[in-house]
Structures are given as structure tokens and as C-alpha cells.
């Protein structure tokens, strides 16, 4: 017959294993870490982002509530590990003080999308709104669900509700203390590209595939700027059929992105792939070269245009079509006319109407003749020696 062993009595198991080991693990995994974390000094810039001075929830706080309710954190983690190249991919590793106001924390345990803890300043608000409305609008291969219930239709156009703008405010807050580091990484201030590899039919095909894959959401399948995202983007996505872009210029924009617009940097792609896209995009607007250069052949026009350019355009676009470094701080930055040509009709239209969402204002006061003069001069700024016909 069995002996009575105290350790085998139910009450012993209940008290030691059930209660005792729970308390032990609560102390080890709750109390002790909590005490050490509380001693970590946060930088002075670390303020509670979730409450305003009146104690009311901020847009960031309301956005965080949407983020929690939609379960965003089940596919997007919020911590950058110091291993596996994550700092290079996302930005500086996560610090304990960053989440000191996050109750509950949203570190997450799975990535079916990118980590979001270094999102501040990485992409434009427009990009985020278009992406939330339909992720395929900015990333055609995306598997993310749509969040159309955060938007409403007004006059045939989709508009964000407050929930969507709050959510974007939250995304733009994530990693705000490391915004500068991320910015330097994502938006290099200067990229100089000279010379491009000789195009081949195979790279042409690859470029076409990659364009559909990465670019068609905003720029449209044909590159005319009429992609799925068009309701949301200001400035609108460029109509790539209206401009002659040398391959080097496309490469530069792909690598740098265009900060201040929804155009992100594609520097993560391999150089070979970037050149393939450059070649393809170059091909789209190739026919604009000839008519643009033809306008520049009339000397009188050019000279009258030069006068108008000096008075109205030179401050931003620079002498000789090279944007002065100070003006590069405009976001999006003005274009270098040395490095590109526009189809004349399109260019005149942009000068007249401006480019909403950028610093480019409209010049409706110009007559048609003046516009033609200006187009002639701007076209003449293109450097044909640097970018010979191919």
C-alpha cells in the first residue's frame, strides 16, 4: 500500500507548483526587469506622445488604437534587432526607453511585412494613405489587406477619414527619435551617376517586369502617371511618357527617391536591376527628345526665354539648369534641366498650372508665345554632350 508522501499531496502541488512557481516567474520576469528598465535614462526629447497638454489623446494615440484594433502588430514587428543586418535594413537598433509610454507594448513576434519601428520620415503621408486604402496602389505585389473602411468616397474620389490620418500620424511617429539617422540612410543627399551599361534585350525585358512589379501602382502600367494610387498623391506621380530621362538620371532618382513626394528610394534593389528599370523608363519617354530639342533651335526664342527664365525660374532651377545646393532642400527638390527634356506641350502646361504638392507654382500670366520661348530655353539647357542620342 502506498505511503503518504507530503510532496505528492494535492495541496503541496497547488501551492508550490501552481502558486509558488507563478509568483517566482512573475518576480523574475516582471518585477526585476521592470526595476532595471525604470533606471534607464530616456533622452530629454522623449515626451509622452499619446497625451496632449490638456491630457486628451493625441492623433498619435488614436492612430495607435486603430493599429491595435486592426491587428497590424501581428504582421509588423516594432523592434529592430542588432543582428541579421536589421540595422542596415531598418535603422538603429531599438532602445528600451522608446516604448516607455507604450501600454501595452507592441513589439510583435512575426513579420509578414516590414518592421515599422523606424518608419518616421521614411515615406510620405500620401504614400501611406494610398497604401492603407489599397496596398497594391503603392506596392503592386503586396499581400497586405485593404483598409477601405478607414476612407470614404466624396465626389467620386476616395478621401481619408480621421481614422486613416490618425493612423498615418502614428506611423510617422514610430522611431521619431531616430528620424535623422533613417533619413540619411533612406534619402542620400547626393548621388552622382555617370555612364550606364549598354542595354540588352534581356535587360529591357527585366526592366519591364520590374517596372510592373515596383512602379506601376503609382505610375500606371503604361507609365502615364495614372496608377491606382492617383487619388492620393500630391505631387502626382510623373507621367513618364512626357519626358526624356537619361538612364543615369532615372538611376539616380531610383536610388535616391524623391523626398517630399511619394517616390521612395529603391536602393535595396541590386544595381543590375536598377539599371534595367532605368533603361525601361528611359525608353518610355524617348520620343520626347526630338521635339524638345527642335524647340531649342530657334535662337530668338531661346534668347527671349532666357530672359524669362532668369527672372522667374533661375532662383530654384539654377543657372544652366543645375539646381543650386541650397534649393535641394526644397522637398521635393526642383529638377535639373541639364539632365532631362520635356515634351514641349507638357512642359508649357506645367509652367502654366504649376505642380500642386511641390514648390512649383503656376505662371498663368504667361502668354502662349512666352511659354513657347521659355520651353525653348529650358530645352536648350539639356546637356547633349553628356547625354548623346543612343
Amino acid at each position: 500500500m502506498s505511503n503518504d508522501v507530503k510532496a505528492e499531496r494535492p495541496m503541496f502541488v497547488l501551492l508550490v507548483a501552481g502558486l509558488g512557481f507563478f509568483v517566482l516567474s512573475f518576480v523574475a520576469m516582471g518585477v526585476f526587469p521592470w526595476l532595471t528598465i525604470d533606471r534607464i535614462q530616456a533622452p530629454d526629447s522623449m515626451q509622452n506622445p499619446y497625451k496632449d497638454e490638456a491630457g486628451q489623446p493625441t492623433a498619435v494615440a488614436r492612430g495607435r488604437d486603430v493599429y491595435i484594433a486592426e491587428g497590424c502588430w501581428h504582421c509588423h514587428s516594432q523592434f529592430v534587432r542588432p543582428v541579421a543586418n536589421e540595422e542596415f535594413r531598418y535603422g538603429p537598433r531599438s532602445q528600451a526607453w522608446e516604448s516607455m509610454f507604450d501600454i501595452p507594448h507592441l513589439y510583435g513576434t512575426r513579420r509578414i511585412g516590414p518592421d515599422l519601428s523606424r518608419e518616421a520620415g521614411r515615406r510620405s503621408d500620401d504614400w501611406h494613405l494610398a497604401h492603407l486604402w489599397n496596398p497594391r496602389a503603392t506596392v503592386p505585389g503586396s499581400l497586405m489587406p485593404k483598409y477601405t473602411w478607414l476612407f470614404e468616397q466624396k465626389e467620386g474620389k476616395w478621401q481619408p477619414t480621421e481614422k486613416a490620418t490618425d493612423l498615418v500620424a502614428y506611423l510617422q511617429y514610430l522611431g521619431i527619435h531616430f528620424k535623422d539617422d533613417v533619413r540619411k540612410q533612406v534619402w542620400p543627399s547626393r548621388v552622382t551617376v555617370s555612364g550606364s551599361p549598354t542595354p540588352t534585350p534581356l535587360s529591357q525585358q527585366r526592366g519591364s517586369d520590374l517596372f510592373q512589379h515596383y512602379c506601376s501602382g503609382c505610375h500606371g502600367e503604361s507609365g502615364n502617371g495614372q496608377g491606382l494610387a492617383m487619388d492620393f498623391l500630391k505631387p502626382s506621380a510623373s507621367d513618364l511618357t512626357t519626358r526624356y530621362l537619361p538612364r543615369e538620371e532615372v538611376f539616380r532618382i531610383l536610388f535616391m527617391g524623391s523626398e517630399g513626394s511619394a517616390m521612395p528610394s529603391f536602393a535595396e534593389l541590386t544595381e543590375k536591376d536598377l539599371w534595367a528599370i532605368s533603361q525601361y523608363v528611359h525608353g518610355m519617354g524617348r520620343s520626347a527628345r526630338k521635339p524638345a530639342l527642335e524647340t531649342a533651335t530657334v535662337a530668338q526664342r531661346r534668347d527671349r526665354g532666357a530672359e524669362l527664365y532668369r527672372k522667374n525660374c533661375q532662383t530654384c532651377h539654377g543657372e544652366n539648369g543645375i539646381v543650386p545646393p541650397a534649393m535641394e532642400n526644397l522637398k521635393p527638390a526642383p529638377k535639373h534641366f541639364r539632365d532631362r527634356l520635356y515634351e514641349p506641350g507638357y512642359l508649357a502646361e506645367v509652367i502654366r498650372k504649376g505642380r500642386p504638392g511641390s514648390a512649383m507654382a503656376g505662371y498663368s500670366q504667361f502668354s502662349d508665345a512666352e511659354l513657347q520661348d521659355l520651353v525653348a530655353y529650358i530645352s536648350s539647357l539639356f546637356d547633349q554632350k553628356l547625354y548623346p542620342e543612343d
Binding site: G71, R89, P104, T148
Partner: protein, 466 residues
């Protein structure tokens, strides 16, 4: 040391009110299984292509994120927990020789628990989730569930204490541990993690919760099932009672403390992460104590797995247990973590544990107990179909592809290529995963038809093969 208690004693006759309670929880658990699987299959489909991601895209309630939370809510609290309740209510009176304490309260409590679960699941779908992994139901649903859980705890643990049993069979040890630890853990998660602990402190405690929702609820309940069902189906005692108790104490001590391995390389204090490495690794002993006991008890009995359906599920469950629980300790190695963390490897691993092991042991329990509760038999042929569809589609189309997808993602992320490319590379594997979801649902349909609709109730029960 005491003489090993056994479960070989003839089972007392099941009283109708007792059977009613157990049946209720089994039916509820299977209903939740269907709902949870539907959610899983829907999610699986959504990840097969960008076009599939658009499907039902304007319906907020069926959005991926919400279904993701609803899926784990349904399978952990609906399917597994209801199943474990059924097992506890069945096994405790048999192991203690005492009628269930507060059995009338338990009967009222059973539907209330479903109300709490529906409330939680509905709230998640309506967009009122809270941000605590594996308990995303909002506070009011959690409070309701906690009350019903504690009532079950009182019934179950109360029966054990009142029975005056002095040396408990190992299943009872696990039941006591699972109920007591989990009640505390659940309340802790839904108060302290959800509303008090900030940032990294919250993550440390979330590690305690998510890890032990599996480690000290699902695992002890599963262990209780296999330690009960194996000797009962084989009609011979467990090989080593002593070893089972060693396994118990090492589980109870080591398992909870390893939880921060869910947040390796995060801002959770480094000393806590380092503590999790040896503690998690030492679980290998816990695992193999169960595995050894299984194999030693099975000695000379292997021929039975061809015709004994519950034993088949137990056996293949233990094969999955060996696989998943051998993976587990190695996940705690930092070099392994660097690659597999955040990937599908973990998803595959988790499904192998919660589906491949514990759900299969619940299948074993239901196949075993349902005829005893109702007098209905079941069709051997349909049971074979259920087994083979489930086994093959889960292993071949889910577990192996998803594991490969996880490795691929992990190594892909070591490069600096766009993350988007890694997702697209995983899509072929996600297609087989979605197909497995459909097949698993088919298997479940067969299971339901077989248990509830095929054979009529009759006296003088004979169950095929047992």
C-alpha cells in the same frame, strides 16, 4: 517513494448529468474548432497572391488582422480549452473516486463560458481588440472568461482536494498545475500586461503570458491526457511513475522562466534573455521524460496502432511532440534565433505543437470518450479517412512547406534585398498551406459526421479495435 498509482481500476459508471456536462464541452470545442479552422483557412488563402489578398477586402470584420486574432482566440480558448474542460470533468472523478464538486455550478458555467468566448471573438471581429498577443479579446470578455475559468478551477481542483487523495496520479498533478498557474497567468496578462506594464517591462511579462499559455495550460493538459489515455487504452500501467513526476517538476519550474525567448534581441533586459537560453534548453529533459514513458509503456503494444483509433492519434501526436519539442530548445540558441525569428518557421512550429500534438490528443480523447458517453460507436473507415487526410495534409502541405518558407525568409532577410521579394518567394509554400487548410476542414467534417451522425446509440457498446 510511494507505489505508483494507476488508472487501471474499473471506471465508475457515468451518471447522466455528468455525461451531459462532458458532452456539452466536447460539442462546444468541436464547434470552435470548425470556426477556428475556417478563420485559419481564410487567412491562409489571403496570403496566396496579391489578388487573393483583395478578396473580401472591403469587409472590415473579415480583414486579415482581425481574423488572425480571432483564429488564435477560437482555437486556444474555444477548441483546446473546451476540450480540456471535457477531459478534466471526465478524468478527475475517475482518478479521485469522487463525484465532481459543484457539478451543478459547472453545468451552468459551461454555456456561460461559451458566452464569454463569443463576446470576445465578436469584439475582436468588430474592431475592439486589445494589444496583448494570444488574449486579444477586450477586458469585458476577458473578465467574463476569467470568472467562468475560475469556476471550473474550483470544481476541478476542489474535487481533487476534497477527495482526500494522498498520492495523486500524474495526470492530476498536471491538472492542478495547469488550472492554478493559468488562472493567475490569464488574470496577470489581462490586467498588468494590458493596462499597467509599459514597453520592455510589458514585453517581459508578455513573454511570461504567451509562453505559458502554451507551456502551463496546453502542455500540462495535454500531458494529463496522454498519461491518462495511454494506460487506459492499453490497459496497462504507465512505465515509470517516478520519471513522470520528475518531468512534472522540471516542467513546472523551468518552463515559466524561459518565456522571454519570445523577445530575443529586443530591448527586454539582456540578463533576462540570457536566463531564457539555458532554461529553455533544459526543457529537452521534460520532453524526453514524456517521450520515454510513452515508448516504454508502448513496448509490446505497437500492433494496436493499426486498429485502435485513439491510440493512433496518441502515437502520431507523440511523433509530432518529439519533433516540435526537439525544435523548441534549439530555438533558444541565439545563432538559430537570428535566422528563424519573425519567420514562418515559428508558425509551422507552433501549429505542430498546438495542432499536431495537443489537438490530436484531444481527437484521441474524443474518439475514446464519445462512445462511452453516448453509447454511439463510430465508423472505423471514416475514422481512417479523418486520420490520413489530417496527417498527410498537415505534414506534407503545411508543416514541411511552412518550415522551408520560414528558413527561406530568415536567410533572405540576412541579405539586404527588398523584404517584399521574400514574401513573394514564400507564396508557393503558402499556396500548399492554404490547400492544407481546406483538406483539414474536410477531415474535420468527416470527424464530425463520424462522431455524431453515423452510428445509432445502442446498449452493449463495442468500439471497433479497442
Amino acid at each position: 517513494m510511494s507505489e505508483a498509482p494507476t488508472v487501471a481500476a474499473p471506471a465508475p459508471v457515468i451518471a447522466p448529468d455528468e455525461a451531459r456536462l462532458i458532452k456539452f464541452h466536447i460539442v462546444a470545442s468541436i464547434a470552435w474548432l470548425v470556426i477556428g479552422m475556417l478563420g485559419g483557412t481564410l487567412m491562409g488563402y489571403r496570403l496566396t497572391s496579391p489578388a487573393a489578398a483583395e478578396w473580401l477586402g472591403d469587409t472590415a470584420e473579415l480583414s486579415f488582422g482581425r481574423i488572425r486574432m480571432f483564429h488564435s482566440h477560437s482555437v486556444i480558448f474555444g477548441w483546446l480549452t473546451n476540450g480540456f474542460m471535457a477531459f478534466a470533468y471526465y478524468s478527475i472523478p475517475r482518478l479521485t473516486g469522487r463525484k465532481l464538486w459543484l457539478s451543478r455550478l459547472a453545468w451552468f458555467n459551461a454555456p456561460l463560458m461559451q458566452v464569454a468566448l463569443v463576446l470576445g471573438g465578436g469584439a475582436i471581429l468588430m474592431g475592439h481588440a486589445q494589444g496583448v498577443e494570444h488574449t486579444e479579446a477586450p477586458w469585458f470578455a476577458d473578465a467574463a472568461f476569467a470568472v467562468t475559468f475560475v469556476i471550473s478551477l474550483l470544481s476541478c481542483v476542489g474535487t481533487i482536494l476534497l477527495s482526500g487523495v494522498r498520492n495523486m496520479y500524474v495526470s492530476l498533478w498536471y491538472l492542478v498545475l495547469g488550472f492554478v498557474f493559468t488562472a493567475l497567468n490569464f488574470v496577470m496578462a489581462n490586467t498588468i500586461v494590458a493596462f499597467v506594464a509599459p514597453g520592455a517591462a510589458g514585453a517581459s511579462l508578455a513573454g511570461l503570458w504567451i509562453h505559458n499559455a502554451v507551456g502551463l495550460w496546453v502542455t500540462p493538459m495535454g500531458s494529463a491526457i496522454i498519461y491518462y489515455l495511454l494506460p487506459v487504452t492499453l490497459k496497462k500501467p504507465i512505465a515509470s511513475h517516478k520519471l513522470s513526476l520528475l518531468g512534472f517538476w522540471t516542467l513546472a519550474f523551468f518552463y515559466p522562466l524561459g518565456g522571454s525567448h519570445h523577445y530575443f534581441y529586443s530591448p527586454v533586459p539582456w540578463w533576462l534573455q540570457m536566463l531564457a537560453v539555458p532554461l529553455t534548453f533544459s526543457l529537452i529533459f521534460v520532453v524526453y521524460s514524456v517521450v520515454y514513458n510513452f515508448f516504454a509503456t508502448m513496448k509490446g503494444q505497437w500492433k494496436q496502432i493499426t486498429h485502435n483509433i485513439p491510440l493512433r492519434w496518441l502515437t502520431f501526436g507523440i511523433f509530432n511532440y518529439i519533433t516540435t519539442c526537439t525544435q523548441g530548445p534549439f530555438h533558444a540558441l541565439l545563432s538559430v534565433q537570428q535566422v528563424i525569428h519573425f519567420t514562418d518557421w515559428v508558425v509551422a512550429h507552433a501549429h505542430l505543437a498546438l495542432f499536431g500534438v495537443f489537438s490530436w490528443w484531444l481527437y484521441a480523447f474524443t474518439y475514446w470518450v464519445w462512445p462511452r458517453l453516448t453509447g454511439r460507436g463510430y465508423s472505423k473507415a471514416l475514422a481512417e479517412w479523418h486520420f490520413w487526410i489530417t496527417f498527410l495534409s498537415f505534414w506534407v502541405l503545411y508543416y514541411i512547406p511552412d518550415t522551408i518558407a520560414g528558413l527561406m525568409q530568415g536567410f533572405f532577410w540576412l541579405t539586404t534585398l527588398p523584404l517584399q521579394d521574400s514574401l513573394e518567394a514564400a507564396m508557393p509554400f503558402w499556396i500548399t498551406r492554404a490547400i492544407s487548410g481546406v483538406l483539414l476542414m474536410a477531415g474535420t467534417t468527416i470527424y464530425i459526421i463520424n462522431l455524431f451522425f453515423v452510428k445509432k446509440a445502442r446498449h452493449g457498446l463495442e468500439v471497433a479495435g479497442e
